[in-house]
Symmetry: C2
């Protein structure tokens, strides 16, 4: 069966527009290969699911996600991706002022539940897609951000996000609210192994910088101890150091190349540092992310797809939704990660990344110099998609 | 009685060198004024106290701090500052590789205990000391960092730092460790009032940006609600908005001027964001901080000193200790904050800041163009102090 893309009717957010282009990219890759066939399905999720059925993660969507080989999420829409071998899924938006923090039903619990139910403990956020053409737009001086090569590996289903909590207004002590940052030895071991696998996938292997607040927090002392032991015992060839989270946030602006390599950290610190890192390498927040339930696949004859969820790290841009001008690059690069990590298609993933780089690069550098509105240009979402597909 | 500075014998860290210069600045201010007399005492604290007596905060130091009108801490040494009216204190270092996170006795609990015992709930970290002369050294492009005017107001004795915790190895569940992020309504009210006072001390008043993770954490939802209610009810003239911590960390690099004003946040987020902000305005981490047990003093006839602890936010630089080349500016600017917030001496505080700016400014701009080693120059710690004192 060849790819089938189910268009969404809900165009109140920028999601569908950018996902359209990522789907075309996946279809192009699939059409060019005799091994891959896509089987795409679309499902509602997040904000639009609240609007339609009153909850952010409907049971049907969750089931479909569990059966899919990989999930591609627009800033608002996910795509379930597949073939005779693989399946994929397209769903709804996560944020927007309409579903604010004091709303009765909020989208975020849907995302957290999806992560937890699928066991997606490893969030990989590469901040190494440097485009020379974008350096002019970067906030950091060129000599500071050129050559930055960071990959954040964030633990995604532990820590403050999933520990016991108590809301204000609940007895006892109605006037207090609390959350628990909790980690166990096996949780830290498995995320350390993912970081090590990511570090080893580069040649030479990358250094690992583990980030914590071990000078204050008990959970961070456990973190530091287990990371150290796991690397020493299982990956003695890798270089590991430890940084305090406050200091890491400072270094990341002052001299980010000092952190080149894999940044291994717990859920909340990873949330903060990966957002911060996403604009460092001149990439302006156009970066992708992968959330996996196991270490990334290594291509091999008996390769099995690794279930994963892929999404751009940028927000939903409700202000420009429906105008056809949103930048699809974060989602297209997420599709590339999907090819790489879930399906083991390294060659195809690199080809997508090269096509994106070409679209952005200046004509003098052999590129097309295309710019969507966020980068001060006039290229539409679809035009940019057209050119990337053409290059592919 | 005139100021008496008790020289420290422990020169194993950069602390004493930079504190020397800050003390000279305070002495100069005091000599020029008939109202202020200084009475300085020195006490051990942190790393050097562990070395000497086996604990980071000896009872004698704590008592002296409680009696002092204000405390000035070098990156490693604190100075108890006083006069017939005021007293001040000079103590020891907080960090260094020697007292690492797995050491039996660590310096940090001493700092945390000192903050807690003195009730220093309000940490004020202005990141608005922009020196045009330093922009060349700043990592951000000039148009991004010029005009940045941030003041971080961080809650300092609540949240994850002081909630219940359990270490790994302690029953039940030896294999887990956890910390609690807890806030109560009154804790959030009082820090909100400090932020409001700081906002009102500028003309026109500054905007307040409250930072939390209310889309996930119960304690953040309480935080957001109480901040909103307190400002609406008590300070309706102030402008308030809310940002998620991940997004704030991103904006602070991408376009920090968007956050100009007071950044109001809880302990851990404040730890991270204030370190990050400290290098944004071209100030390269040379910034001061104040920790107060009450809103800052407003000059008035019945003025009473507000007990506070003042310290540079930069670390201890054990690598360059004892060479007389450390940069004393963070500590000197901390002394200026001490004059402003604890003693209500706004004119004197501004004079110190102006003298520092003159020392740094380029000769074409009427400055002295002095640079210590960290800024690529050859000026010694003492020379820089000499010139600042001379200007004063
Ligand atoms: C939407 C929110 C719950 C989420 C998180 O904090 O994990 C987002 O910020 C992210 O980083 O994916
Ligand atoms: C030394 C450490 C405990 C401290 C903190 O985290 O509060 C420091 O980083 C600071 O910001 O003053």
């Amino acid at each position: 069966r060849l790819a089938q893309y189910l268009a969404l009717t809900d165009h109140s957010r920028a999601g569908p527009e950018v996902v359209d282009q990522a789907v075309r990219v996946l279809e192009t890759v699939s059409a060019a290969s005799k091994d891959i066939k896509l089987n795409l399905e679309s499902h509602i999720f997040g904000g639009c699911a609240i609007d339609e059925v009153g909850e952010p993660l409907p049971e049907k969507t969750l089931q479909a996600c569990k059966e899919a080989d990989a999930i591609l999420m627009g800033a608002f829409h996910n795509i379930r991706f597949g073939s005779s071998i693989y399946t994929a899924l397209l769903v709804g938006s996560i944020g927007g002022p309409k579903w604010g923090v004091h709303a009765k039903v909020r989208p975020e619990p849907g995302l957290l539940k999806l992560r937890k139910e699928l066991g997606l403990y490893a969030n990989i956020r590469p901040a190494n897609f440097a485009s020379d053409a974008l350096l002019a737009h970067a906030p950091l001086k060129p000599h500071v951000c050129q050559g930055v090569n960071l990959i954040v590996v964030r633990e995604l289903i532990g820590g403050l996000y999933f520990g016991t909590r108590k809301e204000q207004g609940v007895a006892p002590d109605e006037d207090t609210a609390w959350d628990t940052m909790i980690y166990s030895v096996p949780e830290v071991q498995r995320i350390t192994r993912v970081a090590a696998q990511v570090a080893l996938s580069a040649d030479p292997p990358l250094d690992i910088h583990s980030i914590d607040k071990a000078n204050v927090l008990a959970s961070s002392r456990l973190w530091r101890k287990v990371v150290t032991e796991t690397i020493e015992k299982e990956y003695p060839q890798l270089k590991l150091d430890h940084q305090l989270v406050d200091s890491a946030a400072m270094i990341m602006v002052q001299n980010p190349k000092k952190l080149n390599g894999v940044i291994l950290t717990e859920n909340l610190f990873g949330d903060i540092l990966s957002d911060q890192s996403s604009i460092i390498p001149g990439s302006l927040g156009l970066l992708p992310s992968a959330s996996l339930a196991a270490p990334p696949s290594v291509p091999s004859p008996d390769f099995k797809p690794i279930s994963g969820l892929y999404e751009p790290i940028h927000g939903s841009a409700p202000d420009i939704a429906g105008q056809g001008i949103a930048n699809p690059i974060g989602t297209i690069l997420s599709a590339a990660m999907l090819l790489r990590y879930s399906l083991g298609l390294e060659k195809e993933a690199s080809a997508v990344e090269a096509a994106v780089r070409k679209a952005l690069d200046d004509p003098q550098a052999g590129g097309l110099g295309l710019r969507t509105a966020d980068l001060g240009g006039k290229t539409s979402t679809k035009e940019l998609g057209d050119k990337i597909v053409e290059t592919l």
